[in-house]
């Protein structure tokens, strides 16, 4: 290591600190320079505090049925995450519905996004606004409407797993379309022309150029769809019949009991999400480093 000698004071631009004398700045400057950092910290605390509380309370040994007040540290909830049979069953149901809804809505939504961006057809702008409707409509209205629809088509007795799944696909679809569409719209169409020009068949063009370039958008859309489906309460409650998904279980348990295991599941979800994000970043960095 070589040390660089400081240039003579005369050549430093005015305002730069002179190492010989303590440099005084007005407190206003200090505030201005640190305001952004301070606000950032406050916002992060605001956003992350609930998560921290969940993690914290998951290690609680609650007195009674409600894990609301800190009693003492315990691992018992973590050792036995399925507090009741219903809880893990409802969680399994939510994940199952979430996976199916994600798969179907991502596949369908991606295709719709391609159609909307790549093809000019008559009803295009009309369909575009219709796609926004499920996002814009209040969930209660959507839920009530869907119940009415299912009642009048397949009958009241049929509410359950498939009606929840269909309802979830319906509202996830809009989000998938919007997410994939924005990625597609930002893609240079000459890239696909270039691929065709370089002897790629339409299928090869899609697999080698279009898909890799749109993949991040599709991935983001799938994650969003899964998150939306797993945590939906309102529409699910309308279409569930006598099924109980995880959000419904939690909502119900607030009235009966609130075991620490709910916080364990919440923490696990949080940890999984962060692990996925960290993994994707590590992979991305490794790929960059390889060049």
């Amino acid at each position: 290591m070589t040390t660089t000698t400081a240039p003579p004071a005369a050549s430093t631009p005015s305002g730069a600190a002179d190492p010989g004398r303590p440099y005084r700045r007005s407190p206003l400057t200090w505030i201005r320079e640190h305001l952004l950092a301070a606000i950032t910290v406050v916002v992060f605390v605001f956003m992350l505090a609930p998560n921290a509380v969940i993690l914290w309370m998951s290690f609680n040994q609650p007195i009674g049925k409600f894990d609301y007040d800190w009693n003492r540290f315990s691992l018992s909830a973590w050792k036995n995450p399925c507090a009741t049979n219903e809880m893990c069953h409802s969680l399994g149901l939510s994940v199952e519905i979430g996976l199916i809804a994600t798969l179907v809505s991502t596949a369908l939504g991606t295709m719709i996004a391609f159609a909307m961006v790549r093809h000019r057809f008559k009803a295009r702008s009309g369909i575009n606004s219709l796609l926004f409707l499920p996002m814009a409509a209040p969930e209660v209205v959507m839920g009530a409407t869907l119940t009415a629809l299912f009642f009048n088509t397949i009958g009241p007795g049929s509410l359950g797993f498939w009606t929840i799944t269909i309802a979830h696909i319906v509202f996830c679809l809009s989000y998938v379309v919007v997410t994939v569409k924005s990625r597609l719209a930002g893609m240079d169409p000459t890239l696909e022309r270039a691929a065709q020009d370089l002897y790629a068949t339409p299928l090869q063009t899609f697999m080698k150029v279009t898909l890799p370039l749109v993949a991040p958008g599709i991935g983001a859309a799938a994650l969003l769809a899964f998150a939306l489906s797993v945590d939906d309460y309102i529409i699910t409650a309308f279409t569930a019949g006598n099924m109980e998904t995880f959000p419904m279980y939690i909502w119900g348990s607030v009235q009966r009991a609130y075991p620490a295991q709910i916080d364990v599941i919440g923490s696990l979800m949080l940890i999984c999400t962060m692990a996925i994000i960290a993994l994707s970043q590590i992979l991305g960095r490794a790929r960059n480093a390889r060049r």
Partner: protein
């Protein structure tokens, strides 16, 4: 077709466009193009922005279906053939390098799509040709504009297409790099011997690089020929103004005697060779390039047989070293541009009365019914 390979690459031959037309709705972007581009030539399609150059290239590469007309490669009619089945490659206007692939994979893309497994040697050779072998593992976003341009070229050339289409390949580069790449491109074309169809709006670029230039205007070919041909003997006011600079003087044909056409303009008699005059009666536009025009002090003796316009006054003189550029105002109010080589002759001050004169064989005559200003403003626009 028996001698053709998988791409239908024939034994070679010219690229021929016959009545090629493209309409977008009621707008005709390319209008009945008839062109033959000889195999192995460096052909430039020159025209202002929006005249239909890119559309023409897209039809040749198969990325756009023509509304009418046919495209032939040698004896093969390729009009209906899909782009990936044509032995034609393109260097796109914005390069269109694949951002998710590195330089090596970009260059290898065409070979891999044709099922060639061992691409290593070819890619290395091609990267050497464009002198970028050391950047093989970079992503396109990590390259400069000039480097991206050369990768785009390598990616197309590696396939040894029958025709290479270049869509304003140097348009995004700064002037110095552009001049350098012009020489480079010309070298590569000579080396590989493929047919290059080079689209540009820069007339200087077209002139320095191409064997043949087609000047395009509003979807039509105005004129086609060698650079010297187009410059010395433009066929329309558009070509005369778009390619370099021209003095265009409206006049009337007085008569044709033998191979000499006599014209009156501003009350003075001028002549030009009949084979350089595109009309033989009525209104004519007589043109002469500024560097062919000489100045003489008023009243001095002129060489016999020259075309002369008397009564001019120098309105502007700018000395730029190798030459002096004059503007001479004629009594009619018209201004002529005169470039005089710096061969030691005296510089005429503004206000001096002069006679402008030139060798009649250096004039050209155009149909007088055209817009005399056509193409003039476009040239300035693209030069800027």
């Amino acid at each position: 077709m028996s001698s053709n390979d998988v791409l239908g690459r024939g034994t070679g031959g010219d690229l021929r466009l016959a009545g090629l037309t493209k309409r977008f709705g009621s707008f005709t972007a390319v209008d009945h193009l008839d062109l033959t581009i000889p195999q192995g030539s460096f052909f430039a399609l020159l025209g202002a922005s929006g005249c239909g150059k890119t559309t023409t290239l897209r039809m040749v590469s198969g990325l756009e279906a023509p509304s009418e007309g046919r495209i032939f490669l040698g004896d093969d009619d390729v009009t209906e053939r899909k782009p990936h089945r044509r032995p034609v490659n393109t260097v796109f206007q914005n390069y269109a390098l694949f951002p998710h692939l590195d330089v090596y994979e970009n260059v290898a893309f065409g070979l891999r799509r044709r099922g060639i497994k061992d691409v290593k040697q070819q890619v290395a050779d091609m990267l050497d040709l464009v002198e970028l072998g050391h950047l093989a593992r970079r992503r396109p976003s990590q390259l400069s504009g000039g480097q991206q341009q050369r990768i785009a070229l390598a990616r197309a050339l590696i396939n040894q297409p029958q025709v290479l289409l270049l869509d304003e390949p140097l348009g995004a580069l700064d002037l110095k790099l552009r001049r350098q790449m012009q020489i480079e491109l010309k070298r590569i074309q000579t080396e590989v011997g493929l047919t290059f169809v080079h689209v540009t709006h820069d007339q200087e670029e077209a002139m320095t690089m191409a064997d043949t230039i087609a000047v395009m205007n509003s979807g039509r070919i105005e004129q086609m020929g060698s650079p010297a041909d187009l410059y010395e003997n433009p066929g329309t006011t558009f070509v005369a103004n778009f390619l370099g600079q021209s003095n265009l003087i409206p006049g009337t044909v007085e008569g044709v005697r033998g191979d000499v056409v006599t014209v009156t303009a501003h009350g003075q008699r001028l002549t030009l060779p009949a084979d350089r005059c595109r009309t033989d009666t009525g209104a004519v536009i007589l043109g002469v390039r500024p560097e062919k025009v000489r100045l003489a002090p008023a009243g001095s003796a002129l060489p016999p047989g020259v075309n002369a316009l008397a009564g001019g006054v120098v309105s502007d003189a700018s000395f730029i070293g190798v030459s002096t550029q004059y503007l001479v105002r004629l009594p009619s109010g018209e201004e002529l541009a005169v470039f005089e080589q710096n061969t030691g002759c005296e510089i005429q001050r503004p206000g001096t009365e002069v006679v402008v004169h030139w060798d009649p064989s250096q004039s050209f005559g155009l149909d007088g019914s055209q817009d005399i200003e056509a193409g003039a403003d476009l040239d300035e626009e693209s030069a800027a």
